[in-house]
Structures are given as C-alpha cells and as structure tokens.
C-alpha cells in the first residue's frame, strides 16, 4: 500500500544520556516528563557534571493539547479532538506519573527547569535558547510525535544534526498532515483518511514525512473514483 515502508518516517528510541555532549537541552510534553527524568537519573548515576549544564523546558501533563489547536473544520478533526480529550481523561495514571516526574526533575541540581502552558510558548523559548546555545549542546525531546516534529523543525533551522538530537515518542500518535494539493496542514489527525480542512479533499495519510514541514503527506484518495473511499479507521492513537 501507499503508506508503509517509507524511509522518511521518523524512528524513535528510548532516550539515553549522551555523555559526549557538554550542554543538554531537554523538551518534554506530558508523559515525556517520565522519559526525561529517566535520562536525568542516568546522568546523576554516572556522576556527570552535565546536570549543572542541563536546561529543561516542560509542558506539564494534561495542561495542553499536543499541538496548536486547529479549528475543527471537519468531522474527522472534530472526532479526533474529542478522542484526544477522551484519551486524556482515561490516562489519569499517566498524568499522575508525569506529575511525580516533574516534581523530581524540579528537585534536581539543574541549570534551569521551566514550565509552559502550551506548545507555542515552549517552542518560542526553545528557539531563543538555541540562538544563545554553544556547540556541544545535545537536544532531547520526549512527547507525542507531532510535538517532536515541531521541535525538530526548529532544531533543523539551527543546523542540529542527527548526532545531536535524540527523541522518544510517548503519548498520542496523532499526526500533522500536510495536504499536498492545497498546502494546508491538518492537526491531530488520528485516522488513515482525513478530510483536508483547506480544500475539503479526502486525503490518504502517508508515512512519507517532511522534517521541514514537520508533517506527514496527505494525498487525495478518491481522485480516480470520486466519493469511493476505503474504510476510514482510527489508526494513529
């Protein structure tokens, strides 16, 4: 099928501390805080002086949606948003674990820990921190894939390469989907097929990923037989 075996699909791995880095910059959203705590404890156990050169920027679990809120322009998007809320409600244990992790992170001897109410405000601070950062900095990102993608896009502007960035995917797999026809990006897409909020075309969500756009490509699915859609399924949960 058109959606699998695509090389550009990002691959994530559990975060590990990079002892070769001199400065460490960590971004976490929601349960990503648990992953960051694990890395920080690894650094602490290794008696790494790196903790004092580590800056952590967080969005506390449950405090924000995964990405800038988009108007629920389509049924699918509305359903996706509702499902996000439902998932958030059902994930109280995860939220509690993230809350605990945040407390522990705040007690560590770090350079700085800051919390933000939403993704845009965290990313704005991230950008200004990068502008003042030195070579030798490692970036760690933990959270939902769309959050990782938005952070990576900014990191790319600062010419951070693969060997300077580590990312662990936690939480929702909901995707940012770029309509290749009208160039609108749909947020929080959880279904294999989605209606484009820009041009109303039905888009097949591919694994073809753009780091520059921080989005998966959406391609019109019923171009040859208008109205004939494969079953719409919730696959990115």
């Amino acid at each position: 099928m058109l959606v699998t075996g695509i090389k550009s699909k990002p691959v994530y791995a559990p975060l590990r501390a990079d002892a070769r880095g001199r400065y460490h910059l960590m971004l976490g959203l929601g349960s990503g805080e648990v992953a960051l705590l694990r890395v920080l404890q690894e650094m602490q156990d290794a008696a790494a002086e790196g903790l004092a050169r580590t800056r952590v920027l967080l969005i506390p679990g449950g405090a924000a949606p995964d990405a800038p809120a988009a108007p629920a322009a389509t049924d699918a998007a509305a359903a996706a948003a509702a499902a996000t809320d439902a998932a958030a409600g059902a994930a109280q244990d995860e939220a509690w674990a993230a809350h605990q992790a945040r407390g522990e992170i705040e007690r560590m001897p770090l350079l700085e820990v800051r919390s933000f109410p939403d993704v845009p405000s965290l990313l704005a601070e991230f950008r200004s921190v990068l502008a003042d950062s030195l070579m030798g900095t490692r970036l760690y990102v933990a959270g939902p894939e769309s959050f990782i993608g938005l952070a990576m896009r900014i990191a790319l502007e600062f010419n951070l390469n693969k060997d300077e960035i580590r990312a662990e995917q936690l939480g929702t797999l909901a995707r940012r989907v770029y309509c290749i026809h009208c160039r609108t990006t749909a947020e929080n897409v959880r279904t294999n097929i989605v209606r484009c909020p820009g041009c109303d075309r039905w888009l097949l969500v591919r694994d073809h990923y753009s780091r520059r756009l921080a989005a998966y490509m959406g391609v019109m699915v019923d171009a040859e037989a208008p109205g004939e859609l494969p079953p719409v399924r919730e696959v990115f949960v």
Partner: protein
C-alpha cells in the same frame, strides 16, 4: 579515476610562492573551460616522463567561478617519493600533464550557520577555493592559518586583502599558537569546523572539539597521506593471476598499476575509500596507513594507495 579518464592540461604559469611552495596554473589543451568544481575539491595529477609515473592528489585553489584554468599549490616534500620533486624540478611553463576530474571529499556544509577554517602550512590550499564560495554565501566564517614564519605564509597578501579581520595568522617563529580551547569552546550552535594540515594539527583540532562536545558531523578534516616507504614485499592478484613485486619506494597501488592492472581510485591519499580491496590470504601483517577503514575491517581489507604489508604472502581480490 578508474579507467583513467583524464584531461590534458598545459602548465601556463608557475610562481614560487614560498621557499617550499610552488603555484601552478593549468590550462586545458586546446582551450575551452575546465569542468566545474566546488571548494574543497582535489584533482590527481598524472606525471609521466620521469623514470616512472607519479599520481599525486592536489587541492584546487582557484575560484570555482573561474573555470578557464585550474590552480594548485605544491609543497616540496623532504621525503618525496618523487612526485613533488617532479613538479618542482621537471615541470616548466608549457609542460603537458594529465589530470583526473575534480572530486570533493572536503566540502563545506551547505546549511551550516558558521564555518571555522583551520589551516596548517600547505593545508591552506583547499580553503582558498572554499573562501571564494564563502564570499558569496553570506554565512559568518573565520580562517585560522598557522605557518612556520611569515616567509612561509602562502597567499598572505591575497588573504589579508580579502579576509580582513576574519583572518587570524599564527607564526611558529614568533611562538604563536592557536588557542584551540578558546576557539572551540565558544562557537554558536550550528558551527562547523574544518581542518587541513599536518596530522598533529588535525588530531589536536578533532580531539579538542570532541572534548567540548562537538559531534562528529560538525568536524571535517582532510589530509592526503603520501604513500610511506617501507620494506619490499610480494603480492598475488587472484583475479588477474599476476604476481607483483612492491619495491620499498613504490606504493602497492603504483606497483599494481605498473603490472598493468587497474585499481579504482579517487584520492590516492587514504581518504576516499574508493580503492578498498579485499584481502583473500595473508601470512604476515598489513601496515594500514589509511584514514578510511574501520578497525573491524582492517585485515579483511587493504587500501592499496597508502598501505603496505610485512608478509611472507599476500593475496588480493583484484
């Protein structure tokens, strides 16, 4: 290159730049333009006419925007196997040479936010062409250039004129050294460092950058090893069914070529990996002089351009 697709050039000018470095201008025989290249590229000059054929890599130092001629700088090596002496002593204006097409194993990173260039001696040559690219790129850069003494500083007037405050000179004769820690501890994110020169300089820059947390993808270096001399040895080429004698002052690759067997190459300096050759049998040890093979591959493979063997027998997959 494999198949030796060379270009015929004629030496149109020679200038003694420093006591050790000569500057050669190469023009295409029959006119026209040279192939396009990017800053950091090298050519291999094929020198015939002496007792034997020499093939040495030299960085292109002319502007990538001016393709009427190529320019190279050749340092006279004390322990030359003949190539640099041939260029210095045998080549005159009007001499015809063959060159292999340019190859870039030392390119500038296209999306870097800043470039730090570090040259030692003749290591300035690849940067001369890269600087031409940088003048148009609009990205900050600085050049740190160390030489023995002012008289050994090739291209100094040109660099002073064009680079101004971006040029930092260091003279051994005045006990000036690069402050590597100061230089590499304080660079903005997205900086790339490039170093070309003696092995000691390259090792120092790489180690210092790594100690300040620089990842490998931001550290670039180029050093063409001249093939070292050594004891003579014998090698058998399994596919060609040819026995080859490698004398002390000739490289394995040169000896194989002299026996009429072609080995693919790009750099002839142990860098590009193009001539990697499988070792089928070995009774003895290989003296790996390349900068290419991973530790795990050493012994399984050999780079004939710079490496030798001390062995009773060696069989190669050639």
């Amino acid at each position: 290159m494999s198949g030796e697709q060379t270009l015929d050039v004629e030496v149109s000018a020679i200038e003694q730049l420093t006591p050790l470095i000569k500057h050669f201008t190469l023009a295409p025989v029959g006119g026209g333009a040279m192939p396009a290249f990017s800053g950091g590229s090298h050519i291999v000059v094929v020198m015939r006419g002496g007792a034997r054929v020499h093939r040495n890599p030299y960085s292109l130092l002319s502007s990538p925007l001016e393709l009427g001629t190529y320019q190279i700088g050749v340092r006279r090596m004390e322990e030359s196997r003949g190539g640099s002496h041939f260029m210095h002593d045998q080549v005159a204006v009007g001499t015809r040479l063959e060159i292999a097409h340019p190859v870039n194993l030392f390119p500038l990173d296209k999306i870097a936010r800043k470039h730090v260039l570090i040259a030692g001696g003749i290591g300035i040559t690849p940067f001369m062409a890269q600087l031409e690219d940088l003048h148009h790129a609009g990205v900050p850069y600085e050049l740190h250039y160390g030489v023995r003494s002012p008289e050994h500083a090739a291209f100094l007037p040109r660099l002073r004129e064009h680079e101004g405050e971006r040029l930092h000179m260091y003279y051994d004769s005045e006990s000036q050294g690069i402050d590597f820690d100061g230089l590499l501890s304080n660079q903005p994110l997205g900086t790339h460092v490039y170093v070309c020169g003696p092995a000691g300089l390259i090792n120092r820059v790489t180690a210092t950058a790594q100690s300040w947390g620089w990842p490998d993808s931001h550290i670039h270096w180029e050093q063409f090893s001249a093939p070292p001399v050594g004891d003579a040895f014998e090698v058998f080429l399994a596919r060609s069914k040819v026995a080859v004698h490698v004398p002390p002052d000739r490289s394995l690759m040169e000896s194989i070529e002299a026996a009429g067997v072609e080995v693919p190459y790009l750099c002839r300096g142990g860098v590009c990996g193009f001539c990697q050759t499988r070792v089928l049998e070995l009774d003895g040890e290989i003296l790996h002089n390349d900068h290419y093979l991973a530790e795990a591959d050493r012994g399984k493979f050999i780079m004939p351009c710079v490496s030798r063997a001390r062995c009773k027998s060696l069989v190669l997959d050639l």
